[in-house]
Symmetry: C2
Subunit: 362 residues, 2 copies
């Protein structure tokens, strides 16, 4: 992630993975989730924080999840069910359950279908926030598959030339295993910048960059700007302006909407607010080629990418998932840095729910 | 497409769809293709020109295809075969055959598998140029499926922060049917601009825009620039710079490389020049939801997109495939405008191959 979004050192408080996992699971249980589901939710969020993806970890998301459970917007005990099925596909009614927790279950179904017939594709409607889509894609990569995941969310993004919001930040993830190299894990919003990054920018007092948002009339703002008040701006698709390719970001957002929403038989949020819809895909590598040969070729390609001569002034060339993998190794040892505001929120919520406080590292 | 790439009126010569189809098929037959394959090739190219996608129609591509057949780089009678298969997947050795012609055959296999088990995914290695990937995706949409198609091509694009080419323009297409509205047909390069558009810009004497290419050292050129000589520049991923999201374009290019190349058991072109690799996907809508309901929901969504209030100074909001559909209606009636240089090339090649000349409209 860009340095501008990092929590400043002076505002960091470190917590261990184990302590965070325990407290997050306990909070989910107090929201009336089963212990099994609470553990899944904690695993998804804490793994995301371990990878340094603050925008989708506990700091940005848990607070809003708890509020949604408390308001009754999320169903803590969803009776999710498959409403249509074929050997390689399933369509699921998520019954208002949090996607963070139903995502791994849906991807499991996709993986099992891929084992049986080569590929598994699962769509889910009547869903809620999916968390980091990359997490779910990665579950397939751990089973020697290529995993993909997408989610169609609440509108905040204009189409190219438009002055009304039509799409969510509709992210796309793909994960693929390698042998020695860290796996590829690509996970990006189809908007110019992820919605949660705007929240992070506000928290750390950072400006938004040119081409990230429009003014109220849909005109792209092409200079740096502080975060505007809610309702005073729209988000731009990846590309920013038409000449820089915003029609590509717009088309990708539409692709996500078709595969997540329309293909699952649901109503797009641009027409009616109907919750999030998701897409999960697992490609069984062995159905296409030799698994070992695939992983060795991934190694060769990823090494070649890392060895690309950097442009003047650049330190090195990365690939998607590499720096997050490196961050994870560090954080497993040294703990996860949370913003002091987040620590304060934990203090409040654990008190409110009569839970032991979150343990922090010295 | 941007106006800057349109053939200037004074340089246009119109030809009918039927005349162009006949001459293109005759040229392919002279390259030793079977009449059936020649007709498929002509259909793909002329359909692309009808949609106004000059970059991938006869004007930009046929000349290079004929040269490649004449040099022996393309196999006119490929003995393509399925080397691995499962109920929902197939991996094909393309035996050096032109993708324009093998693409519809591969997509047919994907469609048949999707009819049988819900989804069909076909990869092809040892392939050659695929033409407009959107054309192949559209074949599935015509069968009440969602179609996707991608191709991994010769490197010309740097990864973010890099100063060496690693990826082709690796385009992605998705097509989905609607009921009354023209279908969605999204077809874009994952580079800031399609490689063929650089050729078009050179032909019509247009500048390249900021964020489209780098200099020799990998530095993004952030002002307008004439097309530089070959070897003096690299292409940038969609997004242009890291802060504008070039890591997203880079990641999408890598995704295409994984799904087309590594999943088919082949060597990426960044490591060894091994021809193009392709990916074809067909999702049988009926396996997920009711087909009529799907199409009606597509209509509602696409109408809503078209009715989006435009930003100040913009005429209207489009969706991917809409303006190409409109162009197709016009060109079916009024003919296809070709650049006079292209007409001259046709005059030369038909003479060389002892074929009747291409008939032009008055």
């Amino acid at each position: 992630m860009l340095d501008r979004f990092k929590v400043p050192l002076a505002d960091q408080v470190h917590v261990s993975e184990a302590a965070l996992r325990q407290t997050v699971a306990a909070i989910f249980e107090q929201c009336n989730l089963t212990p099994e589901d609470a553990a899944i939710g904690a695993d998804v969020l804490v793994t995301t924080d371990l990878r340094g993806v603050e925008s989708h970890g506990v700091s940005n998301m848990l607070r809003s999840y708890v509020q949604s459970y408390q308001k009754g917007d999320y169903n803590p005990r969803p009776n999710w069910r498959i409403v249509r099925e074929s050997p390689s596909t399933a369509t699921i009614d998520g019954d208002g359950g949090l996607g963070v927790i139903l995502g791994p279950k849906a991807m499991r179904i996709a993986i099992d279908k891929a084992k049986a017939v080569g590929v598994g594709i699962v769509t889910m409607y009547n869903g809620r926030h999916l968390g980091a889509v990359g997490h779910h894609a990665m579950l397939a990569a751990k089973e020697d598959m290529v995993g993909m995941c997408m989610t169609a969310t609440q509108p905040g993004v204009v189409p190219t030339f438009g002055a009304e919001r039509r799409f969510g930040t509709n992210p796309i993830a793909i994960a693929a295993p390698a042998k020695q190299q860290p796996p590829v894990l690509f996970d990006v919003a189809t908007s110019a910048v992820a919605g949660n990054k705007i929240g992070l920018a506000a928290r750390v007092g950072s400006n938004l960059l040119p081409g990230w948002i429009t003014d109220k009339e849909g005109n792209p703002i092409m200079e740096e700007t502080p975060v505007l008040p809610r309702g005073q701006y729209f988000q731009l698709p990846l590309g920013g302006t038409r000449e820089q390719g915003s029609h590509k970001g717009y088309g990708l957002a539409l692709m996500v909407e078709v595969l997540c929403t329309v293909l699952s038989g649901a109503i797009p949020n641009m027409l009616e607010s109907t919750g999030a819809k998701h897409y999960f895909a697992a490609y069984n590598i062995a159905a296409f080629t030799d698994v070992d040969a695939f992983k060795e070729m991934m190694d060769r390609m990823l090494e070649h990418l890392r060895n690309t001569r950097p442009a003047a002034g650049q330190e090195r060339v990365l690939y998607p998932g590499l720096s997050e993998y490196e961050e994870e190794q560090k954080r497993r040892v040294h703990g996860i840095p949370l913003h002091k505001e987040v620590i304060e929120w934990f203090a409040g919520i654990t008190r409110e729910l009569s839970l032991p406080p979150l343990q922090t590292l010295a």
